[in-house]
């Protein structure tokens, strides 16, 4: 269906090609998963399928890309509209009309389909994606998951034979993401559409993938059976690491798969993990008294007009503790963080930190008490070089040079001359974090920092947060990412509908509910293990060696 023949893509001004000699074949009806670090050429590969690379983006493409026998070299992307449907990361950015029904019809109008055909297809698509109740609704009143489903539907109405999705779930909470991915897999199974999908959170999609394309980072790509490829890859979901540790070959790809092989492993593990799930700075964790409280919030209420975003939330933040704030989109996480910092509205309640209320003092004062990194971190960057941003941070009241030092600690290798907008998402986050930390706030709040970060960047962020907690900061991270929360948090707070519904140690909260449980916990339940590292420490044998043979009757490969 899709063929890449020795494709090399070079963007103007780049010192190395974004894709180098990629040779790839995706057959009809396959779900092909594209994996790689940020900047390894995932988007380039996806956009090359319908010719947006190089027709729209510029650059040169050597080799040949064909879809259903048609070469993208001969025709612009718009002529591929009835063959390839494209869904991007941010559905809102691609909407042309303003209601669900019109958006679904837009692509067909461009293809000059007959009105009767259009009407029939819109109705089919509304049913297929479960959007029938939303047909008259404005696109901007929908939730993120619904918007993404509309975007998929809008691509489907043209009856394309290939669907290209570029990280369709990166902005969604776990439930909406499941919803979208379930839709995608249903399309593959029911309609036989060929799907090419890029996704950071591998653990979600890998069970459904027929083919894996692994981008190495230098522009080259390997492709093949997911289990085989992942067995030797550094970019892999925790479950594959567990499989490697337990000596299961081929490695399991789904929780179900691993769970069926796990009884033997569970027998060999002690009932209580010998090590905590996080090993950094055991200083003040788990104390419940008033000692170590650096921020005390009581009865915080945030209202946006008639909507109550936060309903009397009470929260104590302790020095040396990393708190993960979880909950679905719109549950009030951001509103709570902004209210704690003092920059956001607060309709009631008290916040005390360092003996003062951050909401009642000047912004320059409150940021010395509480530092907040907003969801779109780049909003804070407005100068034209990293050096200028760091100098500005120093002028805003930091000890000269401290911002630079912090940045080098968090993410070494960012030059003064770089433009902030050219940095990767992870580097931008590091820069904003450095700017905010330069004035030494005791409390650090991060709103959805993991959006768009790959495994490597997330691991780096965990290390940074550990370092901050070690220095006695109180850290709160709002996140949707369960695996990240497991690696980063000592304590988990779950919000729903503006209320704090759960607040407790990570170990108990993350093993209690299936939605907020990491993969390892799902596989090893009822044993309270959360990370691969814990399992590795508990197993008697030396890591790396064959720890236990797979049972002879174990299911091979995928379910």
């Amino acid at each position: 269906m899709i063929r890449f023949d020795h494709v090399t893509v070079t963007y103007p001004g780049a010192d190395r090609p974004a894709l180098r000699d990629v040779d790839l074949r995706v057959d009809e009806g396959e779900l092909c998963l594209v994996v790689g670090h940020t900047g390894s050429g995932k988007s380039t590969l996806l956009n090359a399928v319908n010719g947006l690379v190089p027709h729209f983006t510029g650059g040169s493409l050597a080799g040949r890309v064909t879809v259903a026998g048609r070469s993208t070299a001969d025709q612009p992307p718009r002529e591929f509209a009835e063959l390839v449907g494209v869904v991007g990361q941010d559905p809102v950015a691609g909407f042309v009309t303003d209601t669900v029904e019109e958006e679904l019809a837009y692509g067909m109008e461009q293809l000059a389909l007959d009105p009767a055909v259009m009407r029939a297809r819109v109705e089919e698509t509304l049913d297929l994606l479960g959007l029938a109740d939303l047909r008259d609704r404005g696109l901007h009143e929908l939730s993120g998951g619904q918007q993404q489903r509309v975007a998929i539907g809008a691509a489907l109405t043209a009856h394309p034979r290939v669907l290209v999705l570029d990280e369709p779930t990166s902005a969604l909470d776990p439930t909406s993401a499941e919803d979208v991915l379930a839709t995608v897999t249903r399309l593959v199974h029911d309609l036989g559409i060929t799907v090419v999908l890029a996704e950071h959170r591998l653990e979600r999609v890998i069970p459904y993938a027929d083919r894996l394309v692994l981008l190495a980072g230098d522009g080259t790509a390997r492709h093949g059976d997911p289990a085989t490829l992942l067995a030797g890859s550094a970019v892999a979901p925790p479950i594959v690491h567990l499989g490697r540790l337990a000596g299961w070959a081929p490695p399991p790809l789904s929780v179900r798969d691993a769970r069926r092989r796990a009884p033997e492993l569970r027998r060999r593990l002690p009932t209580v993990p010998p090590t905590p799930h996080r090993t950094a700075h055991p200083a003040t964790r788990d104390d419940t008294g008033a000692a170590g409280v650096v921020l005390a919030a009581a009865g915080v209420v945030v209202r946006h007009g008639p909507v109550v975003a936060v309903r009397a939330a009470t929260l104590d933040l302790r020095a040396g503790q990393v708190v993960a704030l979880m909950g679905r989109n719109g549950s009030g996480k951001s509103s709570l963080l902004w209210a704690l910092q003092g920059a956001g509205r607060r309709a009631g309640g008290t916040v005390r930190t360092g003996g003062r209320d951050p909401g009642k003092i000047a912004a320059a004062e409150s940021r010395r008490l509480v530092g907040l990194v907003p969801q779109t971190a780049a909003d804070l960057l407005y100068l034209d070089s990293v050096g200028a941003e760091l100098d500005q941070a120093d002028r805003d009241g930091a000890v000269p040079g401290s911002a630079r030092r912090l940045l080098d600690d968090i993410a070494p290798g960012i030059a003064d001359a770089d433009h902030p907008r050219d940095l990767s998402a992870g580097q931008q986050l590091a820069l904003v974090l450095a700017v905010q930390l330069a004035v030494t706030p005791r409390v650090v709040l991060l709103d959805e920092p993991t959006r768009g970060l790959d495994y490597g960047a997330k691991a780096a962020l965990v290390r940074t947060l550990d370092g901050l907690a070690g220095q006695g900061h109180a850290v709160v991270v709002a996140t949707h990412d369960v695996e990240f929360a497991t690696a980063a948090a000592d304590r988990v707070v779950v919000m729903a509908g503006g209320d704090i519904v759960t607040d407790g140690p990570a170990t108990s909260v993350l093993t209690a509910s299936p939605t907020f449980a990491p993969q390892i916990a799902k596989v090893l339940a009822p044993l309270p293990y959360l990370t691969v590292a814990q399992v590795a420490a508990a197993l008697p044998a030396a890591p790396g060696g064959p720890v236990g043979a797979a049972p002879a009757d174990a299911p091979a490969g995928r379910p």
Binding site: F56, R78, V86, D98, E101, Q110, A154, A343, R367
Partner: protein, 388 residues
């Protein structure tokens, strides 16, 4: 054909007629024709009674036939604007006193502002007469009527659907407006977000630096978004090639430009009594023909179809017709004394209400009954779980 056959066909025809009156949105062009016809009628008269009647008809039709959509609530703003127009007109006329004759009834005198020699043409302050004020008010009322006609069309016809009714050649224009309308709120949201985020860095909230600190991220955002939108539209087939050649594109341009020029000359000629009437009519006719030809040629450029296009059915025809009756009766001026349309202020007396024009304007109100009722919005289903 047997009589039974005929009966069946008649029944089928009747049921089609009835179906056209089921709740739905009327074709936007019908509302625009109706409103423009009423505007034409209003522009022919300076009889305050007739003008007030036109306003009443507009208000009646708008309140009975508008939908619940946000744009349908715009009529209020047009009414407020109309009042402002009248007030401005009256105030200006009083301050810059002019055209006062010896027969005028003087209401009061404003203090006179001495004007320099070279500015002698205009007099500021002085006597304010009843006649001048009335004539200014009626002038204002007529302008207000025209304004409200446009307002009524905007509240009755979904502006988006009206854009969709544009001929194919103007399709790009329609898309640009649609995109701009959806981008504006996003831009506002983006400005709010960035301005809010600035507090986190304790940025100064005034001065050039503040403008830069907000503008740079916002512009960057907007640029990013428009690039992504362009990519999305390209992948969805926007601008697929039709059958246009270079020559046909040039022909379109020439036809449209000369057509527009003809239209301008024609309208000017018709409005200015100094220009001979044939010149005005000729210019208008020629302009219309050339423009339509240009649009037709240009329309072949794009190959596209329309999803659920508005259909032109008998209620559309009746609505447009109701408006046309008013326009024709007031323009032609037969069957009544045309002087009654523009009552004289000297001597001052109560204007009379000419029968035929009154009936014609009331006929325009029939649009409220001819048009099918607007569709009721379905009750918004509450999705499982809270929406953000």
């Amino acid at each position: 054909m047997t009589p039974a056959d005929g009966g069946d066909r008649l029944a089928a025809y009747a049921s089609r007629m009835r179906a056209a009156r089921l709740p739905r949105g009327l074709h936007p062009v019908a509302w625009w024709l109706w409103a423009l016809a009423l505007a034409t009628a209003a522009s022919r008269t300076s009889n305050p009674l007739l003008l007030v009647l036109v306003l009443a008809v507009l208000g009646f039709v708008v309140t009975t036939r508008r939908t619940a959509a946000p744009w349908a609530r715009a009529f209020h703003y047009y009414l407020v604007m109309a009042l402002i127009v009248i007030a401005v007109r009256v105030v200006f006329r009083s301050v810059f006193a002019s055209g006062i004759t010896a027969d005028d009834h003087i209401l009061f005198r404003l203090p006179r502002v001495p004007t320099p020699e070279w500015y002698a043409g205009i007099q500021i302050g002085g006597p304010v007469s009843l006649e001048a004020t009335l004539s200014a008010a009626v002038d204002g009322l007529r302008l207000a009527c025209l304004l409200c006609c446009v307002g009524a069309a905007n509240s009755l016809a979904n502006p988006k659907r009206a854009l969709k009714a544009l001929p194919g050649a103007l399709y790009e224009l329609g898309v640009a407006v649609t995109v701009a309308m959806s981008v504006a709120p996003q831009l506002v949201e983006s400005v709010q977000r960035v301005a809010r985020a600035r507090r986190l860095r304790a940025g100064r909230s005034r001065g050039l630096r503040a403008v830069r600190a907000v503008a740079l991220p916002v512009l960057h955002d907007a640029l990013d978004r428009s690039l992504r939108l362009a990519a999305a539209m390209d992948s969805r087939g926007y601008g697929r090639t039709g059958t246009a050649t270079r020559a046909s594109r040039q022909l379109t341009g020439v036809l449209l430009l000369t057509g527009m020029a003809g239209l301008c000359v024609g309208v000017y000629g018709l409005l200015d009594p100094g220009v001979p009437r044939p010149v005005g009519l000729g210019g208008l006719g020629g302009g219309v023909v050339l423009s339509v030809a240009g649009l037709a040629v240009g329309g072949r450029r794009v190959s596209r179809s329309r999803y659920r296009p508005d259909r032109w059915q008998w209620p559309e025809l009746v609505v447009a017709g109701c408006g046309a009756v008013a326009a024709v009766v007031l323009t032609v001026g037969t069957g009544y004394d045309p002087a009654e349309l523009n009552p004289d202020l000297y001597p001052l007396r109560w204007p009379t209400l000419p029968v035929l024009p009154t009936v014609a304007i009331l006929v325009a109100a029939l649009a409220a009954f001819a048009a099918p009722p607007p569709p009721r919005p379905r009750p918004a289903p509450v999705p499982a779980g809270a929406r953000p």
